[in-house]
């Protein structure tokens, strides 16, 4: 077994683009689920709408990159309103069902043949990241320590990504210290009490949904730019469930836990995936587990991990058991 490669890919995964994209998605979910108690199971749609907003603007309509970013952000806000207005007044599980349905709608429309001219069908869209890499300050070469290094494009994506994560964390920290954040947590604990104090609960929930969606959509941009392409099936429901696992692993309602959670999650996933892959190639399991089956083992472990976390340690690594929004209606 090639432990060297496994070690390098694992360390790289701790700060790689997947960690960045999922951390941003998880910070968004943490605002919605951790602080406000909203069960948004459609985070993948927010990322998808943002990524496609950018990709379609640039590659289909040949408009500028920055306009694409703006359209992605506006599309995310519109999606949040469309999902929030019918459901935020209802019980938590209605929001869960509607958001998961909306995420599937978005994915099916993106991959449909009818809209192939706009969204590119199941092949998605490419050729939209030129302007982003044109302002890359890094000259060609690799950057890193020893064998752990990234090329100049990845380094640029990661720099922007980690700056966005830092800014998002700072924003969440300041917001949650403010009166606004305290109202948000109060809504999570007892909606009626907050309403009886004269606060417009619906409006606060909507703000949380929009803010969480917008921070998540930054992850969508990173996702699209790091791959230089978007494909509809990248934004399936599994994406959202991964992000939930990350939030719960780190501990809901903590500022840094989504980031740490994302890093740990991807380190574990890459390490286990690569080790199993190498082992299967080396024939360690005999005919019992083939190389093509290893991929599904990773997903099984995520599902199992999510279950075990919620049963035995719902507060995750850093969370506080008294502060978990699991009793939301």
């Amino acid at each position: 077994m090639d432990w060297n490669t496994i070690f390098i890919t694992t360390v790289e995964a701790s700060i790689g683009w997947q960690t960045v994209a999922y951390a941003l998605a998880a910070i968004g979910i943490n605002i919605q689920f951790g602080y406000a108690g909203l069960l948004n199971f459609g985070q993948a749609a927010f990322l998808g709408v943002a990524a496609y907003g950018l990709a379609v603007t640039v590659s289909t309509f040949h408009l500028s990159f920055w306009l694409g970013i703006a359209i992605g952000l506006v599309a995310t806000v519109i999606l949040a309103f469309l999902l929030g207005i019918p459901t935020l007044r209802l019980r938590a599980d209605y929001l869960a069902i509607v958001t998961i349905a909306a995420a599937e709608i978005v994915r099916l429309v993106f991959r449909s043949v009818a809209f192939k001219d706009v969204f590119g069908g199941s092949d998605g869209r490419q050729n939209f990241s030129g302007d982003f890499f044109a302002i890359n300050p890094y000259s060609p070469g690799t950057y890193g320590i020893g064998p752990i290094s990234f090329d100049e494009r990845t380094t640029w994506v990661l720099t922007v990504g980690w700056i966005l994560i830092a800014l998002s964390c700072a924003l969440v920290y300041l917001l949650m210290k403010s009166p606004w954040g305290r109202v948000m947590k109060a809504i999570r604990e007892d909606e009626d009490a907050v309403r009886s104090l004269g606060k417009n609960v619906f409006s606060y929930k909507m703000q949380a949904l929009v803010l969480g969606g917008v921070i998540g959509c930054l992850g969508g941009f990173i996702f699209a730019l790091s791959q230089a392409s978007v494909q509809p099936d990248l934004f399936g429901t599994e994406f959202t469930f991964y992000a939930y696992t990350i939030v719960i692993l780190g501990g809901a309602a903590r500022v840094f836990s989504p980031v740490v959670g994302a890093a740990i999650f991807w380190v574990l996933l890459v390490f286990i995936g690569n080790t199993l892959d190498e082992a299967a190639r080396a024939g360690a399991f005999g005919s019992w587990v083939t190389v093509s089956q290893v991929g599904s083992v990773r997903f099984m472990l995520v599902g199992l991990g999510l279950m075990l976390l919620l049963i035995f340690r719902p507060q995750g690594i850093f969370g506080d058991k008294r502060e978990i929004a699991l009793d939301a209606r």
């Binding site: 469309l82 869960a96 009818a114 083992v297 099984m300």
Partner: protein, 446 residues
């Protein structure tokens, strides 16, 4: 959980809700218009070749179709999607050779005319040419030269789609009954319910296609296994979680973890491809009035209907059924009237698991079996349950039938691949106008 907590004062809801609601309606209408605008050019402009592969009214997927221009340059090769559709955009008008790779046809399906594997078609300016390959169950091929095209009238299509809609609706209803009853009695929104369907289909596949048991017997065994697993799931998993006092939101996310886990166990064991049962998969169709379908579809619908009627009657007439409805209505009150709530819940899980397994087998008969089938239909089941009213057994039945019919009939106006989108949009609109569903009651939703 407090069922009635969070109920907004109605007048207040009205006040803050009315303008917003109107805005959303206007916006949705605007989006709908946009969708049509965006969609129409795709149909009007750009030459393309397209088609839908069907055998006995059922889509045939994974078949390779390649297009070659008149001058011999290959244009593209595609495989048909899950709904049997394929499309190849062509650079300009002209003559093209369309070839169906007969080796990629699923077993039991063959071209009606062996020598018609390659067709010459003319595409005109701005034309989206439909190309038809006539498929029949293997062993029934002809070699004649009759045209495969048939001009069915609009109303024939409506009748055919209504029939197919009922078929789908009944399958959704079978799944929805269990989901809705579990929700009503325990409050759990079970995202792993779809995997009970997959499990039923796969168990039947194991006995039927691998071990050679006749399908009907295999189905009976699979239903028993489904019921047994429903019982065990409640006895050793959900029941324990309830006893520990896990909250409903925690259990909902646990059910997602369980669904993810099971789905990939299925992928691990079964592989990523779709496979049919060994029996009844290439039945010749019969014509009943305007409807043509394989006999198995009629029998499947009869079984589905019979099971639904039996479950419905059991809910209305038997002591356990009445107890189940009482628990679904108000668990605390039911317990204080001397109903053994835990026992009722266990029975509901057992019956729910069994009929979910049956739904999975029926779905496997109607489509094919793959590891995602349960998850794919789960959202439609949610749509049906929500439309009918969460927690009401008969609401789930009505809602599911409406969803099934809507999905099939919507293909009259929207492309087949987007038919699910319509049903899911309806789910969101229901939330807007009647969140309690058709048969639900207002106080459940707050």
């Amino acid at each position: 959980m407090c069922r009635n907590g969070g109920a907004t004062h109605p007048a207040m809801t009205q006040l803050e809700g009315a303008p917003l609601r109107r805005a959303v309606i206007a916006f949705t209408a605007f989006l709908g218009g946009l969708v049509l605008l965006l969609a129409s050019p795709a149909w009007a402009e750009g030459e393309a070749l397209k088609g839908t592969l069907q055998n006995q009214g059922q889509p045939v997927n994974g078949v390779k179709i390649s297009v070659v221009a008149e001058d011999g340059n290959p244009v593209a090769a595609v495989t048909t999607g899950a709904d049997g559709t394929w499309e190849v955009p062509v650079p300009k008008a002209g003559k093209f050779k369309v070839t169906l790779d007969q080796t990629t046809l699923p077993s039991g399906v063959a071209l009606k005319f062996k020598d018609k594997g390659t067709l010459d078609v003319q595409v005109y300016e701005g034309n989206q040419r439909n190309v038809l390959f006539a498929l029949v169950p293997a062993g029934q091929q002809g070699s004649g030269n009759t045209s495969g095209e048939s001009a069915s009238s609009f109303w024939d299509r409506v009748a055919q789609l209504t029939f197919e809609g009922f078929n789908l609706g009944l399958i959704i209803a079978l799944a929805a009954m269990g989901l809705s009853l579990v929700f009503g009695t325990t409050g759990l929104t079970n995202f792993a319910h779809g995997e009970l369907l997959t499990l039923g289909a796969m168990a039947a596949y194991l006995f039927n296609a691998v071990m050679g048991v006749p399908l009907i017997l295999a189905a009976v065994i699979a239903v028993v296994i489904g019921g047994g697993l429903g019982y065990l799931q409640d006895r050793f998993f959900w029941g324990q979680l309830r006893k520990r006092g896990s909250s409903l939101v925690a259990m909902m996310i646990i059910s997602i973890g369980l669904a993810l886990f099971l789905r990939y166990v299925f992928l691990f064991l079964f592989g990523g491809e779709s496979r049919p049962f060994a029996d009844y998969n290439a039945q010749p169709g019969v014509q009943v009035g305007p409807i043509s379908a394989a006999p198995k579809n009629f029998i499947a619908m009869a079984i589905e209907l019979a099971v639904l009627v039996i479950v419905g009657l059991a809910l209305l007439k038997t002591r356990t059924g009445k107890a189940a409805r009482a628990v679904a209505d108000n668990p605390a009150l039911a317990a204080s009237s001397g109903i053994n709530v835990e026992r009722v819940i266990r029975i509901i899980w057992t019956v729910g698991g069994a009929i979910a397994a049956l739904a999975g087998i029926m779905l496997g008969l109607a489509q094919n079996i793959n590891y995602q089938m349960g998850f794919q239909i789960l959202l439609l089941v949610f749509a049906g349950v929500t439309l009918g009213g969460l927690g009401t057994a008969f609401g789930a039945l009505v809602g599911s039938l409406v969803v099934g019919l809507f999905i099939q009939l919507s293909t009259l106006v929207v492309p087949t691949e987007l038919k699910t989108v319509g049903a899911l949009l309806v789910l969101i609109l229901v939330m807007l106008f009647r969140p309690q569903g058709i048969l639900g009651r207002r106080e459940r939703i707050g």
